[in-house]
């Protein structure tokens, strides 16, 4: 069985972010382009980012290894979805 695709991950992140934005009285995002920067846009702080990654691990029932996460790239939604999708793909036995 294949793991979630980058689009699956994107739609999970979109729902997570919109809940956060609504909590703060801000408008939800209509779309989530590849170059959307989670940190610089102010959508999440570092704690919120970690919270979102932990929630993704829980949602997809797989631990996400932060070790190889390049922070300069990984706050961009496109690169992050690719990274998480690759992490969640079952390893060949």
């Amino acid at each position: 069985m294949n793991g979630p695709t980058p689009d699956d991950v994107r739609s999970f992140f979109g729902a997570f972010l919109n809940r956060k934005l609504e909590d703060r009285g801000q408008r939800p995002l209509r779309d989530l382009p590849d170059d959307y920067d989670l940190l610089l846009s102010g959508a999440l702080d570092s704690l919120g980012f970690v919270e979102m990654m932990m929630a993704a691990g829980e949602h997809f029932d797989r631990e996400i290894d932060f070790e190889n996460l390049d922070p300069e790239q990984m706050t961009l939604i496109g690169a992050l979805c690719q990274f998480v999708s690759a992490q969640l793909r079952p390893h060949p036995s």
């Binding site: 570092s46 970690v50 070790e67 390049d70 922070p71």
Partner: protein, 535 residues
């Protein structure tokens, strides 16, 4: 003015200048903008200082704002202010601009150093600032558009700075302000803590010896400059020719990678960061072999965090240091020794140890009388690290800096509850006396959050609490509003525009009536029971 053994003056800048002479080609700072050697950093800082000295008028308050974030300009700005004979006032572009403007105006700075990344916020920052400012932007190649936009202000860019070569080492008094740092205030207005040169050098002198800092060290700077612990990283490193290494906000998302890539030897952070790294599986056995010293400060340090950390950093000594901004960075310390630490800890929290040299401890009851050995009370401290008090606020200064009955010396009331040691046991921290809480290492006056919500909502019945409780403080702030109706969307937006992220309530609860105690006061302890699942 304190004279050194060779008869020269000593300010907070002196250690840096000495290191720049001894180790000109060693790296002094790594931050956004690259790496600068001591020679390079000194060259920029001296030009910034000469520029301030050339423009300064006699009427100016000797303070310079540094509106820069995790960049080489931020470090050059701090040094440049000091070398001009000014104290620095750190501003933070990640804070709401209104808050930064209030700090700029209240501190009466007439000069401001700004990095390239903060320039876009300058229009908003200077809106309504009456006095003309000297704006120094060492990273700005072409200042002409800004000169046209801000005709009242003098704008100095990178090329202009080259012309300022006539720098004179200042005659600053040891009592002069080295930095003015605004902390959360209970009335809704941040308090400016005036920290003098002699306060910081007293700390630095002890720290470099205690932590055995050498020019080989690579020291982390995880703190924003608006957090006073950042002063430890900079000035302790520069005193001995070490390198201070400041990650970007993004790099901090993976601190483990940062430690390894930079080969850090000294780590300093709030304990929350350890908890976060632990949660993310970033504390792998032997993962940080380069670390020889790890310092934690800013909130209670759980034993479980130290245990996890020492597995990842097996070559590192761990110290828990403690101190409010008013007592300059840290004024007590406890070196973790696995053999004794568990027995000496309480409620799973590492002790705060013993006072630094010259600092006096008094544990008192509500009347400020000393309690007996082994009893609990408020921690009062005095000594060379005790700051000058609050900027232009004699009433708050008098309330916090007191002479206890039967004493002649002024002590600072920390508001922290500790146990008075028996024999040579360490001081143990038991919590806060008042409504200050720690959220991710940041000190938050709940009264300030309440004041802002109250003003924005027009409702008087507002209670803010730290929630949920975490091992080292609180996860965030939640707010309860009595009565209503309240337009929560508008209220959230108004509050978020005035407070930094960590102070913005994460959840809001509107109730027809909030719990009160027998005296008719809001019963904070009963609040979680009525919060339920509100927004």
């Amino acid at each position: 003015m304190e004279l050194r053994a060779d008869g020269s003056r000593r300010g907070l800048w002196t250690g840096f200048l000495r290191s720049a002479t001894l180790f000109p080609d060693r790296p002094a700072v790594v931050a956004q903008g690259g790496s600068l050697s001591y020679r390079q950093l000194r060259a920029i800082a001296v030009r910034v200082a000469a520029c301030i000295q050339a423009h300064r008028e006699a009427s100016w308050t000797p303070l310079t704002a540094v509106f820069a974030h995790r960049s080489t300009t931020a470090f050059a700005g701090v040094l440049g202010s000091l070398l001009a004979g000014h104290g620095y006032v750190p501003l933070n572009r990640t804070f709401p601009v209104e808050r930064s403007r209030s700090m700029l105006v209240r501190s009466e700075c007439r000069s401001i150093i700004v990095d390239a990344e903060s320039l876009p916020q300058m229009d908003a920052l200077m809106e309504g600032v009456d006095e003309p400012l000297l704006v120094i932007a060492p990273g700005l190649e072409d200042p002409r558009p800004y000169r046209e936009r801000w005709p009242r202000h003098a704008v100095v860019g990178a090329a202009d700075l080259e012309a300022y070569a006539d720098w004179r080492e200042p005659d600053a008094c040891r009592d002069a302000i080295a930095y003015l740092l605004f902390t959360s205030g209970s009335t809704g207005v941040p308090k400016g803590v005036m920290v003098a040169h002699r306060n910081v050098t007293a700390y630095v002198d002890h720290a470099v010896e205690r932590f055995a800092i050498t020019e080989q060290d690579i020291v982390s700077q995880t703190f924003d400059m608006t957090f006073d612990l950042s002063a430890s990283d900079m000035f302790v490193a520069w005193e001995r020719g070490a390198c201070v290494c400041c990650p970007s906000q993004k790099t901090l998302l993976n601190p483990g990678r940062f430690i390894r890539e930079q080969g850090l030897t000294v780590w300093f952070s709030v304990p929350s960061m350890v908890a976060l790294m632990k949660q993310c599986g970033l504390l792998k056995p032997g993962g940080f072999p380069s670390l020889r010293l790890s310092l934690f400060c800013g909130e209670p340090l759980p034993i479980s965090s130290v245990e996890a950390w020492t597995v990842a950093a097996p070559n590192s000594v761990v110290e828990n240091i403690y101190g409010p901004t008013e007592l300059t960075i840290a004024c007590t310390g406890y070196r973790w020794e696995p053999k004794h630490a568990s027995a000496e800890s309480e409620m799973g929290i590492v002790p705060i140890g013993a006072p630094f040299p010259g600092m006096n401890v008094l544990v008192v009851d509500e009347q400020l009388d000393e309690v007996g050995p082994g009893a609990d009370g408020e921690l009062l401290m005095s000594g060379p690290q005790m700051s000058l008090g609050y900027w232009k606020d004699p009433a708050k200064t008098a309330a916090a800096f007191v002479v206890p009955p039967g004493r002649t010396e002024v002590f600072y009331r920390t508001g922290d509850r500790v146990r008075r040691p028996t024999g040579d046991s360490p001081l143990t921290h038991l919590g806060r006396m008042d409504s200050q809480v720690k959220v991710l290492g940041h000190r938050v006056e709940l009264g300030e959050v309440e004041a802002v919500v109250r003003e924005a909502s027009g409702v008087d019945g507002v209670v803010a609490i730290g929630w949920p409780i975490t091992a080292s403080g609180y996860g965030g702030i939640e707010v309860l509003i009595e009565g209503g109706p309240v337009d929560l969307d508008a209220l959230r937006a108004a509050v978020a525009a005035r407070l930094p992220d960590y102070m913005v309530p994460r959840r809001w609860h509107v109730r027809s009536r909030l719990p009160r105690n027998a005296n008719g006061k809001y019963d904070r302890k009963a609040m979680p029971a009525v919060m339920g699942d509100s927004q």
